[in-house]
C-alpha cells in the first residue's frame, strides 16, 4: 500500500542505503565540526542544524556484545548470533549490528575487528568479522 521511502525523506532509509554500500552514514556539524550518526537532527554540542554529510568506512572494533540464546521474534531462525556494539574506525562514534555465526565468547573477543556487510530487512545492520 505504501511506497518505499526514498533516502531524501528518511534518515533511517539514508542510513540503510549507506549500510548497503558497507558505509556508516554520519554528518559533521557545519558550525562546530562535531560528528554524529545521520539520525541526529541537531548538533549535540552546539544545537546547529546544518551538516556536511560524511560516509564513514563501515569498519571498526568490538566494544561489547552479547550472544542471544533466546532471540526475539524475527530472529528465531537466525542461528546463533551476536548483537554487537562497535567503535567505528577514525571516529569516536559507535554503532550496533547483527553478527551471525557467533556461538561462544571465544568467537568474539573484545576489540575483534568487524565490518558492515549490508542491511537485511529482517535482521538489520549486518556485520561480518
Amino acid at each position: 500500500m505504501m511506497e518505499k521511502l526514498s533516502a531524501k525523506e528518511s534518515t533511517h532509509q539514508k542510513f540503510i542505503e549507506a549500510a548497503n554500500r558497507k558505509k556508516i552514514l554520519a554528518h559533521k556539524c557545519s558550525k562546530c565540526g562535531h560528528l554524529m550518526l545521520e539520525t541526529v537532527l541537531f548538533c549535540e554540542k552546539c544545537s546547529g542544524s546544518k551538516f556536511e554529510h560524511t560516509e564513514l568506512e563501515g569498519a571498526g572494533t568490538v566494544v561489547t556484545y552479547t550472544i542471544q540464546a533466546v532471540a526475539p521474534e524475527g530472529f528465531e531462525d537466525a542461528g546463533s548470533y551476536a548483537w554487537v556494539v562497535f567503535k567505528i574506525d577514525n571516529s569516536q562514534l559507535r554503532a550496533s549490528g547483527f553478527l551471525p555465526g557467533i556461538k561462544t565468547p571465544a568467537d568474539l573477543p573484545i576489540r575483534t575487528r568487524v565490518r558492515v556487510a549490508g542491511f537485511d530487512p529482517k535482521h538489520g545492520l549486518m556485520l561480518q568479522k
Binding site: Y65, T66, Q68, V70, A71, V85, G124
Partner: protein
C-alpha cells in the same frame, strides 16, 4: 542543560524571598507586616514547600495472574484505598502507569479503573516510560500534589504480559529499546544488559559469580515477601548453571516476566495529618535521561539517568547516600543492581561487586538493597514496578514488612529506570512518627 530541576530552584528562590520578608518584618516591627509575613508564610508553605505524603499503598501478588488487567489494577487500587482509610470520592485524579495494555486488549485504562471504583467523573491518564513507567508516573503525580493542584490522588501501576508467552513478551519489551539500532538488529533486553555486563566485567574485572551474588541475595529477601513472584532460595552455583539467555547473562541473572499491580494514595501533608492514619513523606524526587541507545553512551558501565536523578533527589532531600537506610533499586538483571548501587553513590565505581560479595547490601548489611526481593525475586510487572517500590517503603515504614523489616530505618530511596536506563527516576522517603 545546566538548569537545576524544578524541585531545587523553586524552594531556594522562595526561601530567599521568604527570609527577606522575615528580615523586613523584624526591622519594621509593625503588626501589619507581621500579619503579612504569617499569611505569606502560610501561602508559601502550601504553594512551594507543600509536603507530599503517601497515605496508603497496596499491591497484588506479582506473578502469573489470571484476572484481566483491569481486575488486577482494581485489586491493587482497592487495597491502597482501604489502607489509606479514604473513600474513592476523595480521589481527585487517577495517575496510571502501564506499558503493554495492548497485550490484554485494554488501553485508555484510567476511565475503566475509575468507573469501576465508582468515581467515573474523576479524570485520569496513563504514563509510559518503559520499565520505569511506575516511577515516572509517580513523580508526575507527586508534582501535581506538590504544586497544590490536587490534595489526593491515586497513583497506580499495572502490567499483564505473561499470557503472551516468553518469546512474544521478549519481543514486546524490545520495543522499549532504540529499536532502529537495538531491537531491530536482534537485541533483546537480556541481550542489551548482557552487553553492559560484558563491558562492566571487562572494565572492572568483575566475574559471573559477582553477578550471581546479587541474585542469591534478592531471592533470599524475596523468601520473606509473601507477594513475591519467585519464592526460591538459590545458590551461586544455581545461577551459574542456569541456561544462558544472552551471554554472559543466564536465566537466574534475569528477573521474571510478571503480571501485577501496585497502587498508592498520594496526598498533601494536611490531608495526611487530618486522616489520623500512618503515612510516609516524600522528601526527594529526581529524574534523569540517558542516550536512548547503549551505543551512544561514552561509558557503558554507568547509567547517566540514574546519576542525574539521584543527584537531584539527594539535593532536594538534603541527604547524602550515607543517610539512606535501605534502597529499592532497579535490578531487572543482576548487572543492573551492581551498576545502580554505584550510580546511586552507595559504593565507588567498580567496587560494588566486592561490596555485594561482602554482604553490604544484604538485609542486615550496611545498606540493605531490595529488601522486598527486588525485580529479581519480587517480580517485574513493568508498569507497576516503580510503584511497587514505593509500596515496599510504605510497608517498611508502617510496620507491615514482617520478617524483612530493615531495623531502625528512617530514610529510604527508590530507583527505577526504563529500558537500559534511557529514563530514570529516584525518590527519597522519610518515615513519619505519629504520636
Amino acid at each position: 542543560m545546566d538548569r537545576i530541576s524544578f524541585f531545587q530552584t523553586s524552594p531556594a528562590k522562595y526561601d530567599f524571598a521568604y527570609f527577606t520578608v522575615l528580615h523586613i518584618a523584624h526591622d519594621s516591627s509593625i503588626a501589619t507586616v507581621i500579619k503579612l509575613f504569617i499569611m505569606q508564610k502560610a501561602i508559601f508553605y502550601e504553594m512551594t514547600n507543600s509536603k507530599v505524603c503517601v497515605l496508603g499503598a497496596g499491591s497484588t501478588k506479582y506473578g502469573k495472574l489470571n484476572e484481566s488487567i483491569i481486575e488486577i489494577a482494581l485489586n491493587a487500587a482497592k487495597d491502597a484505598i482501604e489502607s489509606a482509610g479514604i473513600t474513592p470520592k476523595e480521589i481527585q485524579a487517577g495517575y496510571i502507569s502501564n506499558v503493554f495494555g495492548v497485550a490484554d486488549k485494554q488501553v485508555h485504562m484510567a476511565p475503566v479503573i475509575m468507573s469501576n471504583l465508582g468515581i467515573s467523573h474523576v479524570p485520569g491518564l496513563t504514563i509510559e516510560s518503559a520499565c520505569g513507567s511506575g516511577s515516572v508516573m509517580f513523580r508526575e503525580a507527586y508534582a501535581n500534589v506538590a504544586a497544590g493542584f490536587y490534595d489526593c490522588l491515586l497513583a497506580l501501576g499495572v502490567e499483564k504480559v505473561t499470557h503472551t508467552g516468553t518469546v512474544h513478551s521478549t519481543t514486546l519489551f524490545s520495543y522499549c529499546s532504540d529499536f532502529f539500532y537495538e531491537g531491530g538488529n536482534g537485541a533483546s533486553f537480556p541481550g542489551l544488559f548482557a552487553s553492559m555486563a560484558r563491558a562492566y566485567m571487562n572494565t572492572h574485572k568483575a566475574t559471573e559469580e559477582d553477578l550471581a551474588n546479587v541474585a542469591v541475595k534478592n531471592h533470599e529477601n524475596g523468601m520473606l515477601n509473601p507477594k513475591a513472584h519467585v519464592h526460591k532460595k538459590i545458590t551461586v552455583e544455581d545461577v551459574l548453571k542456569s541456561p544462558v539467555v544472552a551471554s554472559p547473562l543466564k536465566l537466574l541473572d534475569c528477573c521474571p516476566f510478571s503480571d501485577g499491580a501496585s497502587a498508592t494514595i498520594l496526598c498533601s501533608e494536611e490531608f495526611a495529618k487530618k486522616s489520623g492514619r500512618p503515612y510516609i513523606e516524600i522528601i526527594g524526587s529526581g529524574r534523569g535521561a540517558s542516550p536512548a541507545a547503549v551505543q551512544d553512551r561514552e561509558d557503558i558501565t554507568t547509567i547517566p539517568s540514574t546519576v542525574a536523578a539521584a543527584r537531584q533527589a539527594y539535593r532536594m532531600a538534603g541527604v547524602t547516600p550515607k543517610d539512606i537506610n535501605f534502597a529499592e533499586v532497579h535490578d531487572c538483571f543482576t548487572i543492573a543492581e551492581i551498576i545502580d548501587v554505584e550510580d546511586l553513590g552507595f559504593f565507588p565505581k567498580g567496587k560494588a561487586a566486592h561490596a555485594v560479595r561482602d554482604g553490604a547490601t544484604r538485609l542486615k548489611g550496611e545498606i540493605p538493597v531490595n529488601p522486598s526481593g527486588g525485580l529479581k525475586s519480587k517480580g517485574h510487572p513493568i508498569g507497576a514496578t516503580g510503584v511497587g517500590q514505593v509500596v515496599e517503603v510504605f510497608d517498611q515504614f508502617t510496620g507491615k514488612a514482617g520478617e524483612r523489616t530493615v531495623p531502625n530505618a528512617e530514610i529510604a530511596l527508590t530507583h527505577n529506570f526504563g529500558a537500559t536506563g534511557a529514563s530514570a527516576a529516584v525518590h527519597i522517603f522519610r518515615k513519619v512518627d505519629r504520636k
